[in-house]
Amino acid sequence: MRYLPLTEDDRQGMLAKIGVKSVDELFCDVPDAAHLDGPVWDLPNHQSEYEVDRALSALAAKNVAAGSCPFFIGAGAYRHHVPASVDQMLLRGEFLTSYTPYQPEVAQGTLQHMFEFQTQICLLTAMDVANASMYDGPTACAEAVMMANRITQRRHAVISGNLHPHYRETTETMAQMTGFTLEIGQPSPQAAEDLIKLIDDKTSCVVVQNPDFFGRLSDYTKLAAACQAKGALLIVAIAEIVSLGLIKPPGEMGADIVVAEGQGIGNGLNFGGPYVGLFACKQKYIRQMPGRLCGETVDADGKRGFVLTLSTREQHIRREKATSNICTSSVLCALGFTMHLSLLGEKGLTGLAELNHAKASNLVDQLAEIPGCRVLNENFFNEFTLQLPKPASAVVDELAKRPILAGVPVSRLYPDKPALENLLLVTVTELTSDKDVEVLVRALREVCK
């Protein structure tokens, strides 16, 4: 078998050294009733590389790849161009096949890119400190609420109705399982929410998103002040990280904790995972942060180096008193993020963000001319809500046959809100071509007749 180096001679020699006759004897502590006579039954045996390639390629061929047709889906995962050099470098075995850098002398590569990643996240969000990654945006959001509960010693959070439903639902699960309460606003694709009236001296935090689930942009500066007045923290979630190239960062609005989905930079769609959660906060809260932190120090020669630090917050040291149970997070995805953002730089990221907005704005103008269709947003980044004259899921299914991947029916995430069933979330990125737009507009005119 191609991944197993031991020869039969090797095995015999090793058994002799150990002093047993067979490998079975090494399994002597397994209870008799659990001993299998041979390989697990009803499963196929080993296959060559090309047989496996053929079988999996056949499965892949049953799917419609995003790049194979006009594509307008977002809703928490965004299809941006990832430069070829990013993936080439991610495949370097020294990055790909190493683990958590517990031995800093032979892991400066991982540690330095973690430090660069943390710095980039601070710059993008205008926050003081960032950790080295979480699983994804929604889990980062739930962890942020729990962190706010620890800091404020309160157990009640206010959640915007326009927070992405996966962020809200993940936080709801944690609330139910770990014992805190939530007050959740109603989804409001048009009117602004009044969250300030929900804040009182029992509120640990308020969670909002920017742009929100429906694509709307807000300045949360007043909300931040209202939180501060009541001793609550403001958590701002960002699902489309590229937006920060063009939008005022949450740190400038007074956010206490920022969580985000970092997939949009350096990571492909991958059918939903693995992604990379971003987590940043104010300096004074660092000892309550979850996750790994990389810090600068010097080595025995006085040369700058990097190590994992403040690990007394973490499960491997603190056990049941840890700030989170997280161990393995998403370091390779964070590396993809850091490489891509390094390639973009100031000019590239701001240009990319503006291009996304420009293309989305132009599509909005075209969609506004389709009879029966109406864009609900007055403002947006690269994603907006389109009201259709009929249920959006039927329209999406119809267009998928052509094939056009037209967007996400809001009803897929809100099956219990019939009032939202005609709403479609539409996303445009730099990868959306003029031809794609033309095809979508023509198809919507037909289907919405």
Binding site: P44, A66, L96, Q118, L246, G273, S342, G351, A358
Partner: protein, 525 residues
């Protein structure tokens, strides 16, 4: 790198770095110290005319990102990679982490556009092959463990622990029982007590017996109507199979509690022993350990759980069903037929990229190959144990399973510690083993070779370890304290890092003068 701490560096960061180079281990400044204003590694098409609709929240201040071209970025990260050790570079016997070879076929498969370029919110009619793949992998996991149910969504092992313990919590609630305590052996991974505590349970530790296993009598004495679950790793973190496991499971069940198994060490028994036959109720499987998805410097991982019938209805959302309409995703509790889902644990549907890699690995090995995986993993570990136990000190009698545990009694009164041995091993060209874990033995060395190492590599490692023991006996303390000498870096001052944490780069003039200097111009000087 020698920075002039009195002010700005007098030379550019790149020139300083080159002067500090030793041999061919190249010093490398931070990306922020290499930029120039206006430079970029990305070309974009011309911006079309458009109407701005940003509602007054346009960014005003510069972000502060450095500008680099593609060749600079490629060289930067290539140099950083050369300061790392991976499984590809060398033997990496990190106990409890299963650092096995990561087949490149798996990488190729995960990058097929039909998997890698799929959006999770596409209509399910356009992703039938992806759902079928997840279902196939689920079938393998269920069959290999003998367990009837599976939840695929957890993002890593600790996330799987949370998922499994949440299922237990729901199952107890459904029975109308309020149980508050979770028993965890002292040898457990830190994630076990952290998970139990997060779910609101109090954690009670079970000591190990003289044979490195759960003390059955003490366990039984702690079991009662207040105990929700036992969380046990098997094989355990001492590398030993819990030989009383069936009696343990019986006692736990008799007390009305559940048996959670931490499956981090599943590689020892995969394809040879089915956890269902041991009385386990729920177990997570680290796809990044047993099923070879790359560790990536600390993730991403993937931690599906398998469950017995008693827990099968308490699942997270979403999950896949297969009926005459093909494969469907159940994303909401209102659509859950016959199950009692407890909610969502993360965004979307799980770590698809890891599922593709794991299935490619599993299909490559097949049932016969996985039997051989466990056999060779255990054989390799026992070979190391047998080859080193005369010169190092093994706290427990073998045979071991997939990892060999030593303590530091052989270093007693030498002035040399476990960490010194580990650092000296780096100079011999090997990545250190896990140190100081498990906590139940003093100064632990936990060595997990995995099945993908050749006998030649094991022999070289054994020779290096024996040679280091000889140096210990010669009293060559200074050599140990100065190690590593040939690694990309010397030992790091970890105390200093924790005392006044520096967690991000700031421009030198901002540190000195407190103003927001232009970092791109700063670094280019």
């Amino acid at each position: 790198m020698s920075m002039n701490t009195q002010g700005r560096p007098s030379k550019s960061a790149i020139v300083l770095a080159m002067e500090a180079n030793k041999g061919l281990v190249l010093d490398e400044p931070l990306i922020f110290e290499q930029g120039a204003e206006g430079r970029t590694g990305i070309d974009l098409p011309e911006l079309p005319k458009y109407k701005e609709r940003l509602g007054g929240v346009r960014r005003r201040a510069a972000i502060g990102l450095p500008g680099l071209s593609e060749p600079q970025v490629v060289r930067h990260y290539t140099r950083l990679s050369q300061k790392n050790f991976g499984i590809d570079s060398t033997f990496y016997p990190l106990g409890s982490c299963t650092m096995k070879h990561n087949p490149r076929l798996n990488e190729k498969m995960a990058r097929l556009p039909g998997f890698g370029d799929l959006h999770p919110m596409q209509p399910t009619s356009t992703v039938q092959g992806a759902l079928e793949l997840i279902d196939q992998l689920a079938h393998w996991l269920k069959t290999l463990t003998g367990m009837p149910a599976v939840a695929m969504v957890p993002g890593a092992g600790a996330h799987g622990e949370f998922c499994g313990m949440a299922a237990i919590k729901r199952a107890l609630e459904a029975r109308g029982e309020h149980r508050t305590k979770v028993l965890v052996p002292e040898s457990a991974h830190g994630t076990n007590p952290a998970t139990a505590a997060a779910l609101g349970f109090t954690v009670e530790a079970i000591p190990a017996n003289a044979e490195g296993r759960v003390d059955l009598a003490i366990l039984k004495s702690k079991l009662g109507p207040d105990v929700a679950a036992l969380m046990l790793t098997n094989p355990n973190t001492c590398g030993l199979f819990e030989r009383d496991i069936v009696a343990i499971a019986d006692a736990v069940h008799k007390a009305g509690a559940f048996f959670y198994c931490d499956g981090a060490n599943f590689n020892a028994i995969v394809g040879r022993v089915r956890p269902a036959d041991l009385g386990i109720d729920v177990m997570h499987i680290n796809l990044h350990k047993t099923f070879s998805t790359p560790h990536g410097g600390g993730g991403p991982g993937s931690g599906p759980i398998v469950m017995a019938e008693s827990l099968a209805e308490f699942v997270p959302l979403p999950y896949i069903v297969h009926d005459n309409q093909g494969f469907r995703l159940i994303e909401h509790a209102v659509d859950a037929m016959g199950k009692k889902p407890f909610g969502r644990l993360k965004g979307f549907h799980g770590q698809m990229g890891m599922f593709v890699r794991a299935l490619a690995y599993i299909l490559s090995h097949g049932a016969d190959g996985l039997w051989q995986v466990a056999s060779d993993a255990v054989l390799n570990a026992n070979y190391i144990l047998a080859s080193l136990q005369d010169v190092m000190s093994a706290p427990f009698k073998g045979p071991c399973m997939h990892e060999a545990l030593f303590d530091d009694r052989f270093l007693k009164d030498t002035g040399i510690t476990t960490v010194d041995m580990a650092k000296a091993l780096i100079d011999r060209g090997f990545h250190p083993m896990t140190m100081y874990f498990p906590l139940v033995v003093h100064g632990a060395f936990l060595i997990e070779p995995t099945e993908t190492e050749s006998k030649e590599t094991l022999d070289a490692f054994i020779a290096a370890m024996r040679d280091l023991v000889r140096e210990v006996r010669l009293g060559n303390v200074e050599m140990f304290k100065q190690s590593p000498r040939f690694a990309p870096s010397r030992r790091m001052d970890e105390t200093r890092a924790a005392r006044s944490p520096i967690l991000k780069w700031t421009p030198a003039d901002r540190e000195e003068n407190g103003d927001n200097g232009d970092i791109t111009r700063d670094a280019a000087e």
